[in-house]
């Protein structure tokens, strides 16, 4: 029996010719990632393990992005701990405020992750790098500690679901709508333990930013990882980001998939997830009248350049609705600077929006835009659990940047096609 893309990467990193679904393996890690919330716990475990030092100072990446710039004293103390650790361990890829960004936007941009890599991160959205053809998955703090100490992690080889992408999306539809559609179809545990593998003739019509947004939300269907077939667009992206050598793994022709879904990209409508689960989706045509108090555009799902451009194209020369807060937060310093250079920053500010430094901030209800009881936000983020963006009685609706920007103009969830 042939292997899936994921199985091939796992086999290669375990030094095995072949792996089978259900098999337990120990594999070598190319990158071990942590942030300001999970790394302090991992440092404790790392010390308890009696580790003498990290296995490779180039392969451990630490990004303080959740509560930075430090939102309070507790956050400052956590960041101080990880900074001290990064200094004492001489961690090459530690990114201080001012050079950082949201981890899952930053790592692909810096060329730290490449095709064929095996990555673990103490953050559930580590699955984002599957867009580059890497195996990448979220783990707990103890796994991060063990990974930093030994450069290895154990895995149970997953089965997979195949998504055969066909055709082309219509104008205001993006990768975000495709993944919301898929999560709505599968449910939040629909891909439990499994890989979601994306391929097909329609792949060429998805930009890298579309693919990154889709892989980012694989965890929202319970998946272990999401991974995209590598094509010319991937290679061009990797070459622009850096010179790390990459390896392309394609599935064997007789690879075993639990299920195959054909996704007709042309049929997908702008899609919104209603509170309080990402699988509670409705197409824009069935949203009804939903008044909002806040719009959030950014995050590791949709904080990339293309997302900023789409939002700006809708906001340009217009004003955000009265009594509405619109917060735009680019994913990294590079995206931020490019927004300035392309004139997008001016468009946002002139439209009456906040344009913030990169941070996770509002996405997890950390800071920079918390909701009060009874308030509603539409956000381009990835989770709309109870209390995710603030008060337990607030509500979050998930959408693409286009729908969020259209909603910013009207004060209610709106269809960008009708502007």
């Amino acid at each position: 029996m042939g292997m899936t893309m994921t199985q091939k990467i796992l086999a290669a990193h375990a030094g095995l010719k072949e792996v089978k679904a259900g098999q337990f393996i120990e594999a070598d890690l190319d990158i071990v990632l942590g942030n300001d919330v999970t790394t302090p716990v991992a440092i404790n475990e790392f010390k308890r393990m009696g580790a003498k030092g990290v296995f490779d100072k180039k392969k451990v990446v630490i990004v303080p992005d959740h509560f930075t710039p430090n939102k309070d004293i507790k956050a400052a103390e956590q960041c101080k701990r990880i900074r001290e650790f990064a200094v004492s361990e001489d961690i090459e890829n530690y990114f201080e405020v001012g050079q950082m960004g949201i981890e899952h936007v930053l790592l692909p941009e810096k060329g730290i992750v490449t095709a064929g890599d095996l990555v673990i991160g103490a953050d559930s959205h580590t699955c984002t790098y599957g867009a580059l053809g890497a195996f990448s998955t979220g783990i707990g703090s103890t796994d991060m500690a063990a990974g930093m100490a030994r450069g290895k992690a154990w895995f149970k080889v997953p089965t997979a679901i195949k998504f055969d992408l066909r055709g082309e999306m219509t104008k205001w539809v993006s990768g975000k709508d495709v993944i919301l559609h898929i999560i709505g179809m599968l449910g939040v545990d629909g891909a439990l333990y499994k890989s979601m593998e994306f391929m097909g003739e329609g792949l060429k019509n998805l930009t890298m930013d579309d693919r990154l947004a889709m892989a980012n939300m694989a965890i929202e269907a319970g998946a272990k990882n999401g991974i995209f077939m590598v094509d010319d667009k991937t290679i061009a992206f990797l070459k622009e980001a850096g010179d790390k050598p990459y390896t392309v793994y394609a599935p064997d022709p007789d690879a075993d998939y639990d299920e195959t879904y054909i996704i007709e990209l042309g049929k997908i409508r702008p899609t919104v997830s209603f509170p309080h689960l990402p699988d509670n989706t409705r197409i824009i045509d069935e949203v009804g009248d939903v008044k909002i108090d806040q719009v959030v555009i950014g995050s590791c799902t949709n904080g990339r350049m293309e997302d900023m451009r789409i939002a700006a194209s809708i906001l340009k020369g217009r004003q955000v609705a009265k009594n509405l807060r619109v917060i735009i937060f680019p994913g990294t310093q590079k995206v931020y600077l490019q927004c300035i250079n392309e004139g997008l920053a001016r468009i946002f500010v002139e439209a009456g929006a906040v344009f913030s430094t990169p941070t996770c901030g509002p996405c997890l209800g950390g800071h920079m835009g918390i909701l009060a009881a009874g308030e509603r936000a539409i956000a381009t983020t990835n989770r709309n659990f109870v209390g995710r963006m603030g008060h337990p009685e607030s509500e979050v609706y998930l959408s693409s940047p286009a729908v969020a920007a259209a909603s910013a103009l009207t004060g209610k969830i709106s269809n960008p096609e009708l502007l």
Binding site: G22, Q23, F24, E26, V41, E45, R48, M49, G50, A51, K52, S124, G138, I139, G140, S141, T142, D143, A145, A146, A149, R150, W154, K156, V188, D189, L192, Y193, G222, K224
Partner: protein, 162 residues
């Protein structure tokens, strides 16, 4: 390795928030966490659980946040093993990594009822329901996972293999 105990039975999607509510996450002290284990789904759990007892649930046990406090609280409460039809994947990892044995077995998850006396053989994956006089077969732990469990979790395993 044989283990015998009484079963506590729960349903689908037992999430990490009910296993150990977020309001108790300001400590990582195991005994302190154990005091609040399962509090929001079964208030009597901590009073009734005895060392060696077993939790049995149906699908997607341990879904939600990736907090390692969840398997730690279960283990510290005295529970020797969790049996379910499926586990959410980050919980699955965290359980082994913190030294809590877990077994997947559809039949055991369906048949075992609250209060049944159950014996589990970790070496063979055999689950014996003494009350009902039935046996169910789970996949035994692979050798590698058995090593982590024998070390009482990943921290000690790494200590010995660094």
């Amino acid at each position: 390795m044989l283990n015998k105990g009484k079963a506590f039975k729960y349903g689908d999607n037992v999430d990490t928030d009910v296993i150990i509510p977020a309001r108790y996450l300001n400590t990582s002290d195991h005994a302190e966490l154990a005091k609040h284990c399962m509090e929001d789904i079964d208030a009597d759990f901590v009073n009734n659980v005895r060392c060696g007892d077993i939790i049995v649930a149906t699908k997607n046990f341990g879904c939600g946040s990736s907090r390692e406090h969840a398997p730690i609280a279960i283990k510290a409460s005295g529970i020797s093993c969790v049996i379910a039809s499926t586990f959410a994947r980050i919980f699955y990892r965290n359980a082994f990594n913190t030294g809590l044995p877990i077994l997947e077995c559809d039949e055991a998850a369906a048949r075992i009822e609250a209060g049944d006396e159950v014996e589990v053989n970790f070496a063979t994956g055999e689950i014996r329901n003494i009350t009902k006089n039935e046996t169910y077969q789970a996949e035994p732990f692979p050798e590698f996972i058995q090593k982590i469990i024998n070390c009482d979790g990943l921290v000690n395993y790494v200590k010995e293999n660094i």
